[in-house]
Amino acid sequence: MPPMIQAKNLWKTYGENVVLEGLNVTVEEGEFITMVGTSGCGKSTFLNMLLGTQSCSKGELLLDGQPIPAEPGPDRGIVFQQYSVFPHMTVLENVMAAKAFARKGLTGYLFGSARREAKEEATAILNQVGLSHALNKYPHELSGGMKQRLAIAQALLGKPRILLLDEPFGALDPGIRADMHELVLNLWREHKLTVFMVTHDLKEGFYLGTRLWVFDKLRQDPQAPGAYGASITYDLAVGQMGKKIYEEIDDNLRPVVEVV
């Protein structure tokens, strides 16, 4: 059995600019990986490669031993920081659309018994994420946290094996964030997902999930900031890290953050 995800000497360059260099990493099914790093360090680029919206310039990125498809597919669900839900559908319709898209067909609408089943399933999952009171609301009537709950419910109903989270809680208040962490952890366990989550918040990475990756540049050239790319500088198992290493990573990330 090959590992679920395998990156072999992965590079990403835009012209002269190197974003990622020499990334080697393997991920087993069921891991929950949080990725931190400064802006522009390539963590979102890596997530987009997993998603299939960007391709690598050199090296390989394998899913079950096969190259990752070059376009998004139903095996990899995504929740973005925003614009993840369809503004013209109610909460219930948003989730039911996931069922409709999963079937072959031209219109993406459901009829008859398929519609009834989808409605039941959608209602159940909305109940699970705590949106049962807002089934007939439109996204613009929801708060930021509720929108993200909806986006997560929608992604889950697509039955993905991998769930990609691109700074999903970046725009939320701290209190609501804690609720969302709990929700994501519960869903991850229950649906046996493999999760990749990009975050700006190092603390989030330190207790959420099973594994923490820190993206950073190994080499710096002050005259040519784009000459060297980032790689994974820390690959840590969550729970085995002390305060010391937290401060060390925090120090490494902070100076660059302040310049930006």
């Binding site: 998603l51 139903p74 925003q82 614009y83 369809f86 503004p87 559908m89 659309a97 219109t107 992604a155």
Partner: protein, 272 residues
Amino acid sequence: MQRMINMAPGRSLNLMLALLPFALLLLLYIVASDARLAENANDKLLPSFAQMGDAVQRMAFEPSKRTGEYLLWVDTASSLTRLGLGVLIAAVLGLLIGMLTGALPMIGAGVSPLLTVISLVPPLALLPVLFIVFGLGELSKVVLIAVGITPFIARDIQRRTEEIPAEQLVKAQTLGANTMQILIRVVLPQLLPKLIDAVRLSLGAGWLFLIAAEAIASTDGLGYRIFLVRRYLSMDVILPYVAWITLLAFLLDIALAWLSRRLFPWNTQGGR
């Protein structure tokens, strides 16, 4: 003293300020009209409201001596039919072209440059061509309106399609959607309110093309009538007709705005 930029009228003052220019224009017209009519009772340039009332009575509520028709209503019906058909055709074509060129890069690459060039052709310059090809009947007038506003609607819808966040299209794909499903369930519904907006904006041009076509070759219609009675300097007919056309345009506009709010509640304040 408060800064001018911070001073806003209250509710009643707002209404008064809004009505004031209308009242002033009306007053100006009445004074000028009276002055001219006092000088020469047969003056035709600035008819009094009584004269215009007589003309409206004649056009709208008495059968024409020649044909027995109530001219204002016949004119209105044929003009609105032409405008409606032309705009409908333009809306359907514009929506399809705009959506496909905006959403599918392969089609956009082939069609967008052509669309840009076509949108630069002045439609009125094509009117003789339309008359030659489609004859002087209804068809050429409807085609003129459609030809005139389709490129505008298509390009507007194309831009609106491109404005739909890529995240939504990616999300639909991660749920297993194919291209057709994305177009029909994600893109099209979000474009419909934008289409109504585009139609509202293009109605002004639509009226322009309608009246131009009617002025040149027609036997009825609002544009035909005002150009016909111009020969007799019948300002008492022309001015009420212009006011009537303006009222129709205004009513069409608010009807479309109402329809948009009614059909697409998610598109109102705070949507997106």
